[in-house]
Structure formats: C-alpha cells, structure tokens
Amino acid sequence: MLQAVVSGLILGSIYAIIAQGYYITYITTRTLNFGQGDFLMVGALLGLTSLGAMTSAGMNAYLAILLTMLIVALAMGVLGWGLERTAIRPLQHVLSIGWILSTVAVSIMFRNLAMLIWGRNVLPFPSPFGDAVFRFAGVGITRHELFVAVSAIVIMVCLFFFLKKSLLGKALAAVAYNRDAASLMGINPRRLAVLAFALSSALAGIGGLLVGPITNTAFFMGATLGLKAFAAAIIGGLDNPLGILLGGLVLGVIEQVFSLFHSAYKDASAFVLILLVLIFMPQGLLGKKVKEKF
C-alpha cells in the first residue's frame, strides 16, 4: 500500500508538471493546448537525442542533463511560440473555438513527424542517475524518481514566484484578470500570449525529460499522459496552480491504489474521479468559485 502511494505521488507530480502548462495558457488567453501530451513526447525524444550526444561525447552526466533541460526548454519554447502564431492566434475571432481542433491537429502532425524521425520502436531512455533503487521501510524508489519529485516541487516554486512576484508574471496575471485594462496600462497582451504558450510548451518538454526514464520513450507516449494531465488540471481547478499540484497527486495516488484492487480498471478510476469532481465541485478542488452576473 505504501509503495503504491509513493509511486502514485511520483506519477502524480509528473501529471502536475504537465498540467501547469494548461494552467499558464488558460489564465492568460483562455485557450489550452490540447496537444500538450505530444509536446511532451517531442521534448522527451529531443532530450534523448541531445543527452545521448552529450554523454557519448564524454560530458559529465549532471552537466549534460542541465544542458539538455536548457536545450529542450528552448526548443520547446520555440515550438510553443510557433503553435500560438500558427494554430491559435489566426483562429481567435470572436466566439471562435477553432483552436481546440487546431491544437490537436498540430499535435498529430508532431506525432507523425516524430515517428518519421525517431522510428516506431520504443527507445530506452537511460536515467543519468543510474538504475539504483533506494529502499525505505520496504518501499523501493529509484534515484530518478526522487529527482522527478524534487523537480516537480522546484518547478512549481519557480513558477509561483515568477507569476506572483516578477513584473512579467504580474503582467501575465493582469492580462488574465482584465485584458483590456491591461493593454491600457501598456501591457501587450499578444506578446504575453506568445510567452504563455512558449512557457507551457517548455514545461511539457521538461516533463518529457523527467518521465522518459520511467515510461520509456516512443512517438505514441504523449497521448495518455496529456490526457491524464488534463484530468489533473480539471480535478484541481484550472486556475489554481496549487490545486493542479493537488489534482495531479490525487490522480496519481488514486490510480496506483486502485490498481491494487483491480488493475484492469485503473484508468477508469481516474476518469470516474473526474466525473465525481465535476458533478460536486465543477470548479475543481481548489478552483475559484465565480458567480456569473447577468
């Protein structure tokens, strides 16, 4: 049981990292990238290639992973920027919901491209921390999983400070709060929309790097993860980063604990949870209750 909870927490923190990407774009532009899972896959495969290149060139493992994170974040940021410019902005007429489909379209293109480039095989992603397993009180945990858990918290903290304390973050929040007022104050909402997408894609890419060694990597790995992360975001409340972390953790733990009783219904349990949450707390666990005024 304890093992299941620990594994669930780690799985959940991965969901949470990916889900933060949904949050950032949602608060600033009220749009989401439904292809987040495939962006994650691209990040993982890019990371695999660059990490492989660096370690085979004899670089120190820790330096290599830091650099790889940087490279992946940058590359994915650029992709996110491209996504916003090509698949979201041209479709943002009044009342247009075309972006829902166009983000999916872009993600499917990525999936096929990735298949062409990296092939259809499942590729091993060796963790730079080795395969050693720590054991505490009968619970096994790999070094990489510890790294994932720590990274999830670090990323969340960084994001929190960026959004709440930095000027840029405050500008993002301002756009989210009132786009028109923000632009009157000299904030360019379009620029910030691009920033939001770049940031969210970079997060997905880093998420990919983190999950790679746990799930192995292949062109189809993104679909389920993206969906689960979306579920986590909805459960926790799309407009609350802390809620998303909580949502991710809850989802991960429930999945793992549930499969202790019946493994075949593991995925179903996650989505039953969504239904329950949406019925009783439509705004998510920690989402803001908004009273619509007419």
Binding site: S7, G82, R89, G119, R120, G140, V211, L260
Partner: protein
C-alpha cells in the same frame, strides 16, 4: 497578414528541417535502416525472366514488428544466396521479392496479391503479425501458393484451412497455444508448482494468452490460476500487480505481453525487490527488452524458444554466419525461423521443381530436413502444419545477457 504568412513558411521550414535530419539521429537497432526502400529496389523492374524462380516475402520492415521482419529478411536473403551458390535448381536461380507490410493488415493483403499476380511467385515467406496473416492467407490459399510463416504466432492461422483438401499455410514460428503448453509443462510437470499467477496485457494477444493458459491448466492439470492480473499497453509500472502476486504468495508468474511492457514488468520487479520465477511467451526474448532494462533480464526469467545459439552446432554455426555477413544477429530466433522457413521452400523446389502445388506437397511431406531451429526432420504432416509444437519448443533463459538453454 504578411507577417503570418512568414510565420507559416518558417514553421514549414522547421518541419522540413526536422524531418531532414532524421536519418542521422539514433536508430540504435538499425532495424529501420533502409526499411521500406529495400523493398522497392529489389522489386524494381521485375519482370518474369525465364530462369529465375521468384520467391515472395511479405513481412514488416517498419512498424512495431520491424525487428522480427528485418532479422528474418536477412536470414532469408542469406539462404537464397546459398541456394544460388550451390547451383540453384536445374540451372535456375532463385530470386527474393520482398515488400514491407508496415505491420498493417490492409497493406499485407495488397502486397500478397501483388506477389501472386504480378510477381508470379512460387511460394511466399509469410508475415510477422498474426493479424496480417489472418487478413491475407485467404489469397495465398485460393491462388494455391504455399506460404511458410516465420514469425506470426496466432494459434488459428494454420487451422483456418485445415479442413480443405489442401492446406497451403505452414508455420515455423512457435504458435501461441503450444507456447502456453510449453510454459505450463515446465511449471507444473518439471517444477511441480501449483500456485500460479498470470499477468497479461489487455490486447488480443494477452487475452488470447489468458484463455489458453486457463484452458490448458484446467483441462490438462485440473488446476486454476491463483491470481489473474492485467495491464494495459503503455502502463508505466506493474507494481500493484506484482504486490498482489506477492501477497498471494504465488510460486511463479506467467507473463503474457509484448516487449515494452515486459521491460516495465522487469523494472517493477527490481523496484519492489521481489523476483518471482517468471515464465513468458517468446516476446520476452525480443532484444528490445534487453535494450530497455539491461541486466534486469538475468534473474529468474524464462521464455519459450525454438532456437538458442547454444542449442546445437548447426545453430551456433548459423549464428556465426549471420554475424559474419551482417555484423550482428539482430534477433537470433527470428533469423533462425526465417532461415528455416525459406529453406523448407528451397528444399521443396530442389525436389520437385517450380510448380507451387507440387512445392506445397513437397513441404508437407518433407523428410530428413536439417533445420537450425528445434524443427523436426519431418516437420509437417497433413494434419499438422506447425513445425514447432510443444514437443520441440523449450524454455530458455537469459544468462549474462545471452539467451541460452537453462
């Protein structure tokens, strides 16, 4: 507007650039190298020249089973070269025509029809996927072209036409039901274990395996599984399932799934520090498993096999030949089965010439055949089109990263 156009072209350029640098990246397996193109170059400009015996091969060189297909292709090519070097049949040289079915049934149907109608092949070396075999054997059967299957293991394939006057479908791969019988014989008869757990995937492959395991256990040994657990393709760990196995104190785990999940299973075993005796179908011997988990394969893992490098001198010599020719043995068992598949056809041609119907009869009545797998000297009979039954399949295990007989 001008600006957005520029963006679009930039995105295009990026996409093209990414696709362009493809071949330089990764592909540690080398399985994809040349993949589909291999087919077209060899098939190009094929007209039926007199003096050449066309032998068809419809197998996946891309897709999830590409490794099986590529390994089999190399061995088949080698067998045909040897046949030609030894003078062929009556001065006629054999020629391999190979197409990639991309692991897709509809593609498989298309290329098999092409092999029969345009390339006029006298015999076909069949597919790697059971689904593809099920989709296309209708055409080979109706055209009266013998087909020998080197990889696909679905039990029903060779039985589809068992009641016809002449069944044109043969197989050198260990069929599923026989694999299950072999696994259970090892566990129940040799190891005297009665408390077994089953872990299967939720695809057709795993479901079929579950049915077979339950059936054989009940009918042959009057036993029942203690624990039945399943997992889904792409699951990231199997800890929960393993914990249940541990709780139930099962004596051995029967694992029925494909390579990526087998790798996750082995990882979870390591993480829980719980190493139940594991017996798996031959998918556990897929080199992908070892690539993904490294040394974790070495502990108490058994899998069904028809071929190990150390099983006989012929097997070792065959392995050395493949390594000498291609630099590596991509997937030893698939190479060996591919080699035996085409050798059956070539032997038949030596005996009776190039009429497909006569070739079929010769394969069915083949005697004194020396294969590199565990195939018998008389592999087939009218009733039995399986070269490998539970009598000559055996369990093998990993030792220092090599698959060997225990």
């Amino acid at each position: 507007m001008k600006k957005s156009k520029w963006m679009l072209s930039a995105a295009m350029a990026l996409a093209v650039g990414m696709a362009g640098c493809g071949p330089q990246l990764d592909q540690p397996s080398g399985a994809g190298s040349g993949g589909g193109q291999a087919a077209s170059t060899e098939a190009a400009g094929n007209t039926e020249k007199s003096g050449e015996i066309a032998i068809g091969m419809a197998i996946s060189l891309s897709g999830g089973t590409a490794k099986y297909g590529e390994a089999a292709r190399r061995a088949v090519e080698m067998a045909i070269e040897e046949f030609n070097a030894a003078g062929g049949y009556n001065g006629q040289q054999a020629k391999l025509i190979i197409y990639d079915d991309e692991a897709k049934p509809e593609k498989s149907v298309e290329i098999v029809q092409r092999l029969i109608q345009q390339d006029k092949v006298v015999a076909i070396v069949g597919p790697a996927n059971s689904g593809n075999a099920a989709a296309h054997i209708k055409y080979t059967q109706e055209a009266g072209i013998p087909e020998v299957i080197p990889v696909a293991t679905g039990t029903a394939i060779t039985q589809t036409y068992a009641n016809e006057e002449k069944n044109y479908i043969f197989r050198v791969a260990p069929y599923d039901r026989g694999q299950v019988e072999t696994m259970l014989k090892f566990l129940v008869e040799e190891k005297k274990l009665t408390k077994l757990g089953l872990l299967h995937d939720t695809t057709g492959y795993g479901q079929g395996g579950k049915k077979d395991v339950e059936d054989v256990l009940k009918n042959k040994y009057n036993l029942q599984l203690a624990v039945i657990e399943s997992f889904q393709v792409n699951d990231t760990n199997m800890e929960a399932q393993l914990l249940k196995m541990r709780e139930a104190n099962v004596e051995a785990v029967v694992f029925y799934g494909l390579a990526p999940e087998a790798a996750q299973y082995l990882k979870s075993r390591d993480k829980l520090n719980y190493y139940p005796l594991t017996v798996a179908s031959w998918a556990m011997g897929d080199p992908t498993v070892k690539e993904l988990v490294g040394d974790l394969v070495n502990k108490d893992v058994y899998m069904v096999n028809s071929f190990t490098i150390d099983q006989s001198e012929a097997a070792g010599a065959f392995h050395d030949k493949i390594v000498a020719k291609y630099g590596e043995d991509l997937f030893p068992i698939a190479s060996a089965q591919g080699y035996d598949s085409v050798r059956l056809i070539l032997e038949a041609i030596k005996q009776v010439g190039t009429d497909p119907r006569a070739i079929r009869d010769a394969i069915e009545n083949m005697d004194g055949f020396q294969g590199v797998t565990a195939i018998k000297e008389k592999p087939f009979t009218k009733e039995n089109h399986e070269a490998l039954t539970s009598e000559n399949m055996f369990l093998s295990t990993y030792k220092d990263g090599q698959i060997v007989k225990p």
